[in-house]
Structure formats: structure tokens, C-alpha cells
């Protein structure tokens, strides 16, 4: 099962955070919960992007994309030193 998982960068529309949440990270976690019981937040970002990174299956990534406030769910990229 782990083989299916990949890391995704999730861009969120910060201004669309529901009023019931005090922190963006709680909103992110709740969004994640609704597509996966096991997924964890790898990082939450506030300056470079608004969003978080996490490990998901492709199906979970597709489901996440449908949630309110989700702008994009992009697979992680590996960079190399020059």
C-alpha cells in the first residue's frame, strides 16, 4: 500500500477557511481527514505558499482536489544540485 502513496503539495485558498477554524493548519488537517484516515501533514506553509504537503494515494489526491478551498494538488518534484 505504501507503494501507492506519493507526496503532494496542496495549495489552499487561505481566504476560504471556514469560520469554524482558528488556525489554517486545523482546517488543512480537517480537509485531509475527509479524504484519508491515515494521512499526516508533512509541512504546513504560510509564506512560500498557502497550503501543506502530505502523502496520499492518487485517488485521495483526486478527492482532495474536489474540496472547497483547494486550489491545486501537485505531485512533489525532485530537484538536483547543479
Amino acid at each position: 500500500d505504501g507503494a501507492q502513496h506519493a507526496t503532494y503539495i496542496v495549495h489552499m485558498a487561505q481566504s476560504q477557511m471556514p469560520s469554524g477554524f482558528d488556525l489554517h493548519s486545523l482546517w488543512y488537517d480537517s480537509s485531509l481527514r475527509s479524504v484519508s484516515q491515515s494521512a499526516q501533514l508533512l509541512y504546513t506553509y504560510t509564506n512560500a505558499i498557502h497550503g501543506f504537503s502530505t502523502r496520499l494515494t492518487p485517488e485521495e489526491a483526486d478527492s482532495l482536489m474536489t474540496l472547497p478551498g483547494v486550489i491545486s494538488v501537485l505531485p512533489e518534484h525532485r530537484y538536483e544540485l547543479h
Partner: protein
Amino acid sequence: TTRTPLFLGLDVHNADLFPETGSSSDVVVGVLDTGVWPESKSFSDVGLGPIPSTWRGGCEAGTNFTASLCNRKLIGARFFARGYEATMGPVDESKESRSPRDDDGHGTHTSSTAAGSVVEGASLFGFASGAARGMARRARVAVYKVCWEGGCFSSDILAAIDKAIDDNVNVLSMSLGGGTSDYYRDSVAIGAFAAMERGILVSCSAGNSGPSSSTLSNVAPWITTVGAGTIDRDFPAVAVLGNGKNYSGVSLFKGDPLPDKTLPFVYAGNASNAANGNLCGPGTLIPEKVKGKIVMCDRGVNARVQKGEVVKAAGGLGMILANTAENGEELVADAHLLPATAVGEKAGDIIRHYVLTDPNPTASVLIRGTVVNVQPSPVVAAFSSRGPNSITPDILKPDLIAPGVNILAGWTGSKGPTGLASDARRVEFNIISGTSMSCPHVSGLAALLKSVHPEWSPAAIRSALMTTAYKTYKDGKPILDVTTGKPSTPFEHGAGHVSPTTAINPGLIYDLTTVDYLGFLCALNYTPSQIRSVSRRNYTCDPSKSYSVADLNYPSFAVNVDGSGVLKYTRTVTSVGGAGSYSVKVNSETTEVKISVEPAVLNFKEINEKKSYTVTFTVNSSKASRSNSFGSIEWSDGKHVVASPVAISWT
């Protein structure tokens, strides 16, 4: 680094240009790389005042790294491994430290190049000796370790940029890349946009995929994209053949010389059972055929230093390593484990013919040490990635070139100079090549400019570095491309070679703001979601406005034309050099392209006054698709020259 400060004019007689006042030590260069070796003398904080009050960063403890290893030079050290470990599994602590400690060497090399303290008597085994110093030797350094044995993962890179912005760095240096993808998919581009908005100049390596064209990385217009050139220093090593002929190569080998006579000489391709035995790959040489001989290997596939390791392991006494057509005459020096020299393609072909046809071929290698005042220099490095810009052809990239070949700078204490596991030597400084080395040169120079002009935006600093870059040698001849031996073009050298002593006072600058870059994204027809991914804002392009990439106030011009036609560009320049009357001079290398500028004179009455001009490119005939023509647009008031390269491509 040694020699490049002199090559760039940063040596003593220019000390007045870059006053070493408080501000010069308040600039912080953030380096995303493999971490840092804090014991390196390049991070001595002797003579540095207290940490800038604006600094909000910190030092994270981890394996083999305690917070006390930071000081007033190395003021920040963080590491990011969650993304790496999520994909690759836990950091292998037998090979690398789960901490900011650099077990590779690359991060120590780049951060000390950008802002290392002065270290007298630096060298690699005596090669390139001198006083090593970073470009901004009094700037502070903050390292963000995001690269591990298995690579640099974007979730870690974003986390590091996120933190570097919080920490309040002034310059971000990233000598890494990941191919070419659209900006809204490229975490480096996205993170750099956020940094730019906070007034942080982001300098990135252009990539080492040259000499093929359209091979650039990090081409976002809000990033300073740096290619690589040579400097006026070399490490000659002669390949001596039994027929009395000698051929010049380069080497950093230090050790017992070969005996004073030529030795039996064999071509690796004839001493191997492997199809590509000529490449001296691991386990491909037959010891009986190699033992006690000089071996000729061809470049390609495996690392150059590994070829030497393979020859030595098979019993060879020395190696002559030949370039292929791809590297041409470019000579990159390595600290080989045995007497070895790297020769250019032409010499390589002659030597290969000799070893394959002479009935009793013999050879030797003579190491000659360091020579300086090598001319012509700079020459564009073959490996330096080139344009045109495959993501946005209407933005000319790279922006400029800087020293990137055979650069000496700080190194890790965990690895030898070759980086090979079998290399038990330990050095304080190492000599390596790549756009990874040219990028931190520009990062450090940007920090210098920032210390003198703290009010300048990242775009203004990049503009100053570009419009003052030089494209010709002192004798007026154009900078050469080592790949062709002919003049390089703006697709290779961008605006030219960086020239910090003139960049400090550029006269006019081409400024850019976040709104300009948002307009650029509209010109790319980005969807609101894509704009939001890049800019973190809900930005609506004005439907009544016709956006064009050509409208981006960039300090260079990339004009793509289909057949013939007339194209108009507008640019706005800001007088940072005070009042002055600037006249324009245009140059086009072909009569088929006419360049005219209105108005031809710009009169500035005061500093920071803005004026606009319009360029009209009249292309009179259609050339074959993908052909190019070049030119330039220069403004001068007699004291400053504000030069912009022009690249015209027929699509």
C-alpha cells in the same frame, strides 16, 4: 574563493566601492543546499559585529550539529528532511547527518563562495592558493539543508523557503534545479515569487545541461538565472606521448609523479570486455591489460573521478581522459586519485589515434600546477545551460554568467575532494565546477549591492547586475563560447559576464513589482487557480486589458517573430544615478532587423525619476525557423552604460 575576487575587480582598489561599514555585515545570504561544515575557516566570525537585529533565524541541533556551532557569521542553520524521508525512508545516518551538517561538500562550497570570511593561505593541495573569501565577505550566512543523498525534494524546499522568509534573509541562493516545468508547477519558482515579494533577491543556477540549446532551469522572470564562465586561472597537466608529441590538459592530481619516462599506453576500449569499456566504468577494465600502464578513457556516463578510481583499482599507473564532442575543448580539473590529465576533444582524437595505431604506444602525464592570467577569459562553459527559454521564449535567459569553472571554496570534512567513498583524503577547500558555483557568486554580489543600496528591489539589483555586465574582452573582442570557439550569444551569456564594480553604480535600472509579475502571469493566460498557486492571492486579470509578455519591464529583449513584421516594446527606466541626459545607441547584427528607439534621448532631472521609451523592431525578411539574430540597446550619459541584449528568433 581565491582568484575570482581579483577577476571580478573586488580586490583592494575597489574596497572603496563596497564600504565595509555596518550595512555590509547586516545582509544575510540564505543558501538552500546540502548544509554547512561549521568548522570551516570560511565561517569564522572574527571582526564581525553583533548579529543584525532584524535577524529572526536560528540554529537547529541535530546529528553531529549543536546550536553552539553557529556564530556571528553562520547565523542560521536549519535542515528539512520530512519530504525526503517520506519518499526515501529515514536519512541513512551512517552516510549523512540528520542535521544542518554538510556531509557532501556542495553546500559548504556554495555558501562560502557567496559570503565566506577571508582565509589566508587557502588552497587545494597547493593548487589555486591565495586568500579565500566570499563575494560578500562580511555578509552573514544562513544555511537551509534541503538536499540529501537522494536529492532535494520540493516539499522540503518549500518549507525551507517558508522559513527563510520568516527568518528575514535578504538574498536566497539555490544551486539546484529540476528540469523545466511551468511556473505554477515549479516549487522553486513558486517559493521564489513569495521571496521576491518580501524584497528577497533569489539567485539560481541555470543548469549544467549545455551545450545543447533550450536546456535552462530556473527561468522564472522573478529569479536571477546564472550561467557559468571560466576565469583567468588554469591547472595545466601535459599528456606526453612516446612519439614526442605533448598535449595540454588539466589536472589537480597531487601525489608521487610518474617515473621520468613514458610508460606503456593502452586504450580502455581495448582493455575491457564491456561494450563501452572506453568509458572506464566500474569493473570494466581487465587488470592484466591495464596493470603498470597509462590508460586512455573517454568522458561520459560515469563521473570523471570515478574513471580514475577504476583505472587505479585495475592497476593502471595513470590516466588520460578525453573530452567528447559534447564537452569540446572545455577543461574541467579534478583532484584525481592517480596521475591523470583531462584533454580536449581535438587532442583526445589525436591521442586516441596514436594509441590505436602505434605498434608500441607509450605515454606519461606531467602535472604543472596553477597558472593565472589565462586568456581569453571568461569563456562560456560548455556545460552551462543555454537558451532560448523553453518555458517563456519571450523572456531572454540566462540573465548573465559568472565564474563557474574550477572554483576553489570551502569543503566538508566528511568527504575527500573527489567525493568518492574510496577517497580518504580530507581537505578544507576544494575545486569544483558547475552553474552551482556561478550562482553563489551572483548571490554574494547581490548581497554586496544590497548592502550599498538597501532600498533597491530584487529586480533593481538584478537589473544593475545585467545592464553593466560585459560582453567583450578588454581588447573589444566578443566573449567566446568554449563549445564553438566562436563568440557566444545572449542565449549563452545573457547580458554578459557580471561586473560588480560597475553594477554598484548602473545609472538607470529596470524595476519590476509584484503587480508587473502578476500581469506577466495574465499574459501567459494563467487561470485564476494557477495565478493563485504562484502568487497566493485571488488576482483577476483585467478583461479589458491586453496583456503581453513583451510588456514586462525586463532588462533584456527576446523577440520571437513569425516571418517578417514590426514589433513594439515599451520599457521604463529609473534614474538611480541622479540627473543626466542619456542617449541611446542600438546595434543589430543583421540589416534584416532594424531596431529604432523613441525618444533617442532621456533627460533625467533627479534621482529615481522614471522615463519610458519605445523600441520598434522592424524585421524585413523571413529567415528559416529557429534561426536567430542578435543586437543590443545601450543608453549612456557618458558616465554610465546601461546595456540590454536583444535576441531575435524566427519561429
